[in-house]
């Protein structure tokens, strides 16, 4: 994977979306900068899907003129879910199965 300073330019739709975004906030004072924000809720435990390809499949045939497109998309979803599960295990936040 590439690294280093980089800014992703949005495409046309992204630019249009950006125009609709709220204006950037004003420069904060020290009090505003260090203000107490509500604590982010403790993370819920990760429950990997038994079929991580379901969402992609539910969208129907992808608009890609390639015979194996849906198969490759599903493979990526499957492999990525495996990696995410490994990350959850390493951080000890994998949910126990219901019948454990």
């Amino acid at each position: 994977m590439s690294e280093g300073p980089r800014r992703n330019n949005a495409n046309q739709a992204g630019k249009a979306q950006k125009r609709n975004q709220p204006r950037p906030p004003a420069e904060p004072t020290p009090a505003e900068f260090w203000k107490l924000a509500p604590k982010a809720a403790a993370p819920t435990r990760i429950t990997p899907a038994t079929d991580p390809t379901a969402l992609v499949r539910s969208l129907g045939k992808p608009p890609l003129d390639h015979p194996g497109a849906d198969r490759y998309l599903a493979s990526v979803a499957q492999r990525a879910a495996g990696l995410a599960t490994a990350l959850a295990v390493a951080a000890d936040i994998l949910a126990a199965s219901e019948e454990d």
């Binding site: 495409n11 505003e32 809720a41 899907a49 194996g68 492999r79």
Partner: protein
């Protein structure tokens, strides 16, 4: 500032008239809440000022209530949880601030919400250009230097590599927003920081990091959740001339996004002047992208097209670059594809408020499963899909979602449905939805409400429900009407139920709140088992009990469970209560029982109350004798005779000693030897005593007298003595009349299940049925790889048997490192004759001829005779049956070998050691060496190595002189000191061959002694009760000065203490260690 605990403050003091106007609790509560929120009216402020105590108390109570509510909502399920938690946290924060204002102190919250306290420097993180920029500072502090920053990063175990220098982060300082302080910073890419961020985000309060780092961690965990669920979609982005695939989260929960955006600490946005929601989405997207690209890079994707000239080439470039690799393409071709991809993913790419609900109702009486789809209606409530599609708030989104759902659940499009989104499923389809399709639909973003399904295979069992025919008859002979059924988990099925289920495509039952599929083979077996028993409608209590303990075949994996009422059912129900009645310090018992002994005591009480006999099968050394004494001590002596204990001669003395030690109030009589009570006297003695102890030989010899007495209970110690039911001993002892029979043994299945049957048939005559059926039934059940004996003990444990072994961790944990046991052994007539002859020869020699050396030689001879006649004069005859000590050693070795363990046998007579090793080898068929000083070094080393390395049972005989020091023999867990040495330290050294560093088990040391002989007087010396000189020199100054009488006193036999084998066998038994 002082911290104050949030507590109610009650008012204490004299009653007085309050001049203030009366105010209702509601008014006060509204005023308190309004003031805390900064919205109080002047009137409300005046009210509060007039009631300062109530204000403070009410505010504290409100804060405490909010904290309690917060704890509750944290446990809520569902997507709204995070929003609700955030709202309550905000509420708590507001109240805490109000309390601080009011009291001038800082309210101590149960769960402080911030990590960044004033004056505290912590690691902080800012988001910049898709990277994480780290720096360290805190409110009102100077930033950490770059060197300090490096140290802090290392301290929190941040990634060691992947960093590059970054421009200092400008931190606001002073009143003007333009006044900045630069904080030295370092940057790292998301892929490199990912693992660490997830670990930080998974913790509640990670050490050393500020709120901004924790927040980024929380977002990273959320990203992991998206990817793990497969909630990701591909997009194509223009990176300044080149294009790349970027992965984005799908179906982002709007409430959670808003809560996380509100929780974003200021430092996160120090370098990105954008609103919190956009920044949160940017961080989330970058993290999802990093995870998926990393995973995609591990796939073998096809090679990209060399040149992109056509729309097909762009599609191919996208597919081959799913790992984010940039590709070049003409904008006229790439931009339209990016837009098509965006439209394709549009149904799931925006934040979502509500999802379609797929609901499956449990089957109706006809077995039909109704499936319906619900969507949000005009007012947000869930309504049937068809209604939502017409009246709902976002019809287009609902239509898109419906199409998505129907793709994954095509059964919804089945013709014949009454309304869109409603269909009736077959059992097969319902099972498919519950087990397979449902989880996929959930992963695709639909809310699935289907009955729970268990994948666990239910274990079938037979249930026997008994109702006594005549309740006035109790005991094993009580007749009961019985009804048979099959049980799968908690579901009881009659034969008719099974027939109906068998006819279904998928036999499903509803068990423990879940639907479970029954295996057809199990169903058929259950049907066959019920058919086989259809005619068995009346059983005795004994038969019911045999079914319960697995002595009657059930044909099903789960065996037979007994319900209903009657003698057997009640008895089985009570066994479950036994462990709750364990008492470690029973009344009348001096000492403390270990946990398993206390449980055994409760079991003994259960046996007594149930009128059953049983087998207390604690491993050797676990304290059977103290447990039984505790049982006897806490019982009231019934009218008539007390308890008869029958034990091997070697342990009779020990029973008496331990009874006086642990249960001194028990009146104990030893019935043994020539001076024992006559048949006429025995009845009267039995009624006066609590416990009468005798040997197997004496019991058989006096069986007419003993069997004429009605005993409260009879206890057989070392009950393997009756393992041969055809033996005279077993036959004669069965004549004894006792209300309760108890057998004690550490090896209840020494030679097989037949031993166990013999023991249990003695304790409960006739209850177990015939021996052959018992053995075959329990052998057949031992299919799980365990030996049949162990299986049988497990099946009967807690009812007819109480079994505990040293191998059980909870038992081993309570045992000391070393247990010393003293075994009193008998003398055979041959030993007594030889012993007396040596004494006579010594005494009859003239005093003038007798020298000190002669006396010492005689002592040695006497000790050898105590060991064995052949140890004194080897006449070449076989050793068996000629020595009580040898018989006891044989028993110990048998028990040790039965447990698959190892034993060391020490003697200080090397020649005798060799004979012992030969004898034990021939008897056990296990090669047993003798380690002595006459062997070469190499042979001795090999001997030790062999013993240590051998698997399972083994024994080694050692001469005390050669083997007493320097060896490490931790493979052994038993040590026998066959004869005694004057110096106890020598014996300790011998025992410590087995007990050394590396020994993980309790070592049991057995010392063999012949009472009433010089052997015992050596024991007294070893025990420190006498000195060596006192032994032979009562009042004289020289051994040679002893007159014949003094010699007889010092060395002669003492008939009152001597244990003679008489006509009984020379066996003895293991004995108990003290509790």
């Amino acid at each position: 500032m002082h911290d104050v605990a949030v507590v109610d403050q009650g008012q204490i003091g004299p009653v007085s008239v309050d001049p203030r106007p009366r105010v209702s609790d509601h008014e006060l509560a509204w005023a308190i809440e309004a003031e805390a929120a900064g919205e109080a009216t002047p009137a409300q402020l005046a009210l509060l000022d007039a009631h300062p105590v109530e204000w403070r108390t009410g505010l504290a109570r409100l804060l405490r209530q909010t904290e309690a509510d917060l704890a509750k909502v944290r446990t809520l399920p569902g997507p709204e949880r995070d929003q609700v938690v955030a709202d309550f946290e905000q509420e708590r924060s507001t109240l805490a601030a109000a309390l601080s204002r009011l009291t001038g102190t800082r309210a101590e919250l149960a769960d402080p919400r911030t990590l960044d306290g004033p004056g505290e420097v912590r690691l902080q993180a800012s988001w910049s250009d898709g990277r994480v920029v780290m720096w360290a500072a805190g409110p009102g502090t100077a930033p950490a230097t770059d060197e300090e920053l490096g140290e802090r990063l290392a301290a929190v175990e941040a990634p060691a590599g992947g960093w590059w220098p970054h421009d200092p982060v400008p931190l606001p300082a002073g009143v003007s927003p333009n006044n900045k302080v630069p904080a030295p910073a370092r940057a790292i890419g998301v892929p490199q920081a990912l693992g660490w961020l997830v670990t930080v985000g998974a913790k509640d309060r990670p050490d050393g990091v500020g709120a901004s780092v924790l927040w980024l961690g929380r977002v990273a965990v959320w990203a992991v959740d998206f990817v793990a669920r497969g909630a990701i979609i591909p997009t194509v982005r223009n990176d300044g001339g080149t294009y790349r695939v970027a992965w984005a989260p799908a179906l982002v929960d709007r409430a959670k996004l808003d809560a996380l955006s509100r929780a974003m600490p200021g430092p996160v946005a120090a370098l990105e002047r954008t609103d919190a929601r956009s920044l949160t989405l940017e961080v989330l997207g970058a993290t999802v992208d990093a995870i998926v690209r990393d995973a995609a890079a591990r796939l073998e994707l096809p090679a990209p097209p060399p040149v992109v000239r056509t729309p097909g080439d762009v599609s191919e470039a996208v597919v081959t670059s799913l790992d984010g690799t940039p590709f070049t393409a003409p904008a006229r071709l790439a931009a339209p594809l990016a837009e098509r991809l965006e439209r394709w993913a549009e149904p799931v790419s925006g934040p979502v408020d509500a999802r379609l609900v797929v609901q499956l109702d449990p089957p109706d009486k006809g077995g039909a499963w109704f499936l319906s789809v619900l969507g949000p209606g005009q007012d947000g409530r869930m309504v049937p899909l068809e209604v939502a599609l017409v009246d709902g708030r976002s019809k287009r989104h609902l239509a898109d979602e419906t199409v998505r759902l129907e793709r994954l659940l095509p059964v919804l499009n089945r013709p014949g449905g009454q309304r869109r989104g409603e269909v009736v499923l077959s059992q097969d389809e319902a099972f498919e939805l519950m087990g397979v399709t449902g989880p996929s639909l959930a992963a695709a973003g639909f809310d699935i409400r289907v009955p729970a399904l268990s994948r666990r295979k239910p274990r079938p069992a037979l249930r026997l429900t008994a109702e006594p025919v005549d309740a006035s008859v109790v005991g094993a002979h009580q007749l009961a009407d019985v009804r048979w059924s099959a049980v799968f988990d908690d579901v009881e099925l009659t034969a008719e139920d099974i027939r109906r289920l068998a006819a279904e495509a998928r036999p499903l039952i509803h068990s423990h709140g879940r639907w479970v599929e029954i295996d057809r083979v199990d169903l058929n077996e259950a049907a066959a088992a019920l058919a086989e028993r259809a005619h068995r409608t009346r059983l005795t209590g004994a038969e019911v009990l045999r079914h319960a303990v697995g002595l009657e075949t059930s044909g099903l994996a789960g065996g037979t469970v007994v319900g209903g009422s009657g003698w057997a059912a009640d008895l089985l129900a009570r066994t479950e209560m036994v462990s709750t009645e364990a008492v470690a310090n029973p009344e009348g018992f001096r000492g403390t029982l270990r946990s398993y002994q206390a449980e055994a005591l409760a079991w003994l009480g259960f046996l007594d109350s149930a009128g059953l006999g049983g087998c207390l099968a604690l491993d050797m050394g676990l304290g059977k004798t103290p447990t039984v004494l505790a049982h006897l001590a806490r019982l009231e002596k019934p009218a008539g005779a007390g308890t008869l204990v029958i034990a091997p001669p070697a342990v009779v003395g020990n029973w008496a000693v331990e009874a006086s030690r642990f249960a001194p109030k028990l009146k104990v009589i030893v019935h043994h030897g020539a001076s024992r009570a006559t048949a006429e006297e025995l009845q009267s003695k039995a009624e006066k005593a609590d416990v009468i102890i005798t040997t197997y030989g004496t019991a058989v010899r006096d069986i007419d007298a003993i069997s004429g007495i009605e005993w409260a209970r009879v206890v057989l110690d070392e009950a393997q003595a009756i393992k041969n039911p055809a033996s005279d001993v077993a036959q004669e002892l069965r004549r004894i009349q006792a209300r309760s029979r108890l057998a004690l043994t550490g090896t209840p299945v020494e030679n097989g299940l037949g031993d166990l049957w013999a023991i249990l048939d003695f304790t409960n005559p006739g209850l177990l049925g015939p021996r052959a059926a018992f053995v075959s039934q329990l052998s057949a059940q031992a299919k799980d790889g365990r030996p049949s004996g162990e299986h049988a003990l497990r099946a009967l444990n807690g009812i007819l048997v109480f079994r505990r072994t040293k191998a059980e961790p909870e038992v081993a944990a309570e045992l000391p490192d070393k247990i010393d046991e003293l075994d009193h052994c008998t003398m055979t007539p041959e030993q007594v004759g030889l012993y007396q002859a040596v004494i006579d020869r010594l005494v009859n020699a003239g005093e003038s001829e007798r020298r000190q050396g002669d006396i010492l030689a005689a002592i040695t001879a006497l000790k050898q005779i105590c060991n064995h006649p052949a140890a004194y004069q080897d006449d070449g005859r076989p050793l068996a049956g000629r020595s009580g000590k040898l018989a006891r050693l044989e028993e110990i070795v048998d028990s040790v070998f039965a447990a698959g363990e190892k034993v060391l046998v020490f003697t200080h007579f090397a020649e005798w050691g060799k004979r012992l090793a030969e004898h034990l080898t021939a008897r056990t068929k296990v090669p047993i060496d003798c380690y002595h000083g006459g062997l070469s070094r190499g042979v001795r080393d090999r001997m030790i190595a062999d013993f240590q390395a051998r698997k399972g049972k083994a024994a080694l005989v050692l001469s005390l002189k050669a083997g007493g020091t320097g060896l490490n023999l931790t493979a052994a867990s038993h040590v026998v000191l066959y004869d005694r040495w004057w110096n106890p330290a020598v014996e300790d050294q011998a025992r410590d061959r087995a007990w050394r560093i590396g020994q993980e088990r309790t070592v049991i040391s057995h010392r063999l002694v012949c009472p009433g002989t010089v052997d015992e007087r050596v024991e007294d010396v070893v025990a420190g009760k006498r000195h060596i000189a006192d032994l032979v020199l009562p009042k004289s100054s020289s051994l040679a000065d002893l007159n014949p009488d003094q010699l007889r006193v010092a060395l002669g036999l003492r008939p009152d203490q001597l244990l003679t084998a008489e006509a009984e066998d020379t066996s003895s038994g293991d004995r108990e260690e003290a509790a």
